[in-house]
Amino acid sequence: MPKLQEMAKKEAAFSSGHRLCAGCPVPIFTKMLTRVTDYDIVVGSATGCLEVASSIFPYSAWKVPWIHTAFENAAAMMSGVETLHKVHRRKNKTDKKIKCVAIGGDGGTYDIGIQSLSAAMERGHDLLYICYDNGAYMNTGIQRSGATPLGAATTTTPVGTVVAGKQQQRKDLTRIMIAHHIPYVAQASIHNPVDLSNKIKKGIEIDGPAFLNILSPCIPGWRIAPDMAVELAGLGAETCFWPLYEVEDQNFKVNYEPKKKLPVTDWLFTQGRFRHLRDAKWSHLVQDFQTRVDQQWDWLLGRQAATK
């Protein structure tokens, strides 16, 4: 696997001058895309923060071929690109092997894009789909998504006297993707560059479909200070809200096991979107949150043990 020092010498796929928010951690992984692999890549984006902020006409932050059409279809669009490339190779129009990467936020992946994602994975395209999960529709001004955690305040799950933010638990998309039995599924986070770059490399270079879910704290959406994204992502792993793990051909490997699993409140109460949960009135929500995290972590350890 590449060393970070060597990686840093290569040109990044993503240049500065983009218009993502100050402190947004998304460029941490977009810059890695070309640095981790020797393959040439084509990137396709779903509508979202990254897409808008990297392509405000007439500028582009992308130093690789980049394509965007709509919100619900990044995986379908890249299926088309990948298939065309396959045909070109078959007809000897090129002997170069190009790799395809689709990128969507949680709105474009968990919700409106899940149909096209699922189908692309099932058809078996040679494609890495990266979801940067910031837990809501941040680009349109913080509306809840299928990835928004229980209790989070968003503009469409406001906090009042009767309800406290989102009333449902988030869906576990990574597990849904594991159920597709594709060659590679992983969960990573922007605070751990070694783990993250390894997973991007594997996802790009593996033959066949791969899915990578990256926890990506959002400064305005999580109501945190611009210097807190990395810290919050780290706490996601330390509390096991966001376990770092990978599944290769149904073999589970947990990449990071905290020595002492922190309570979820350490993660929740550092974010403004969960501020109301400190009120004892909502302690049952915090308990439900903890229970889900515990169940997910136990399940994961169980799967890892079964793999061994």
Binding site: T69, A70, T156, P158
Partner: protein, 350 residues
């Protein structure tokens, strides 16, 4: 109040039982407002996972006889077309708000009037129409919303309210009240449980030979009635005008400024402002074209409503066009210049 919040509150006043929506700029204030207000009223707010889901939720809620609405902006409205066609086919009332932005494709988030064709021609597949409002102030937006729910229930069809990025975002004082009320037919077709009555069937599928044609003829007869009874438009100083400017929505607000200044310069100019875009004020425009006048159509598109103006004028007098597509907003000066140019032509009958 900003237009988006005002239209949401208007829907609540109109008795909207359920709002279903999906995030898209520049109408996000609508779902955010509804997320707070609908539960307070004991009514329904659901954020869907896509526009396709939102319009399908509207279909489901409407079939039960409840008042349901959704809102979106241009690309999202495109995704809803299948559902709108099904609503029209199944004769279900619904209110759909389109806070238009620049297109085609992802376009931009600037105000636009480029979805006129899509809205007034039905938009989805099949022979159908939707009633379409093109309000030009926040107050009119509120009034149109309230009327839209009544018309949807009266004629059993989806009604669209076309706003745009400016109208959705701009703030104006509004009076929030239901000014008129209609006698509406009972919703005896609604799916409320068939205990102690014959079952109701809500459908858009007609397979028996001739059945779909008969169904379509029934819809067309209804559309003819709407064209007779429901046209709304505003006219200003048309009687002595040599030039008549036709514009709707936010473009009409800019036209008003240009016409006022042109009148001050002594140019005989008036305006006709369609409030319903379908049914279109064809007769009013046709009548105004009985005398020789040059029509100037101003739109924030490459020229869509101008086709309806030309159909209404029916070749009797010339129709000029000034349009700004892709989120461009015409200025008062721009329109005034156009009016000045046309005065040269107005004096020489063709």
């Amino acid at each position: 109040m900003c237009g988006n919040e005002a239209l949401a509150e208007a829907a609540i006043i109109a008795g909207c039982d359920a709002y279903f929506g999906y995030p898209i700029t520049p109408q996000n204030e609508v779902p955010a407002y509804m997320a707070r207000r609908m539960p307070q009223e004991g009514r329904v707010f659901v954020q869907s996972e896509s526009e396709l889901a939102a319009i399908s939720m509207v279909f489901g809620a409407s079939a039960t006889g409840k008042r349901a609405m959704t809102s979106s902006s241009s690309p999202g409205i495109s995704l809803m077309q299948e559902g709108i066609s099904y609503l029209a086919g199944a004769e279900l009332p619904a209110v759909v708000v389109n806070v238009m932005r620049g297109g085609p494709g992802l376009g931009n988030i600037a105000p636009s009037q480029a979805d006129y064709f899509q809205a007034t021609r039905g938009g989805g597949h099949g022979d159908y129409r939707t009633i379409v409002f093109g309000p030009s102030s926040v107050q009119e937006l509120v009034d149109c919303m309230i009327l839209a729910f009544d018309l949807a229930d009266q004629y059993l069809m989806p009604v669209m309210v076309l706003a745009d990025g400016i109208l959705g975002q701009m703030m104006e004082p509004v009076v929030l009240e239901k000014k008129t009320s209609r006698e509406l037919p009972a919703k005896d077709w609604a799916l409320t449980g068939a205990k102690d009555r014959d079952q109701n069937i809500v459908r858009s599928l007609w397979l028996k030979e001739g059945a779909l044609e008969a169904h379509n003829n029934k819809l067309q007869a209804r559309y003819e009635q709407i064209q007779r009874d429901e046209v709304l438009c505003e006219q200003y100083e048309v009687d002595d005008a040599e030039i008549v400017v036709v514009a709707y929505g936010i473009a009409a607000r800019i036209v008003r400024g240009a016409v006022t200044r042109a009148r001050a310069e002594g140019i005989k100019v008036g305006w006709i402002r369609p409030i319903t875009l379908w049914p279109f004020p064809t007769e009013e425009i046709n009548k105004a074209a009985d005398e020789f006048r040059i029509f100037l159509n101003v739109e924030m598109s490459s020229g869509q409503m101008v086709e309806d103006v030309k159909l209404a004028v029916a070749g009797k007098t010339p129709v000029a066009f000034h349009g700004r597509p892709g989120g461009g907003v015409p200025t008062v000066d721009e329109i005034l210049d156009k009016i000045r140019q046309l005065t040269l032509r107005a004096k020489i009958p063709v």
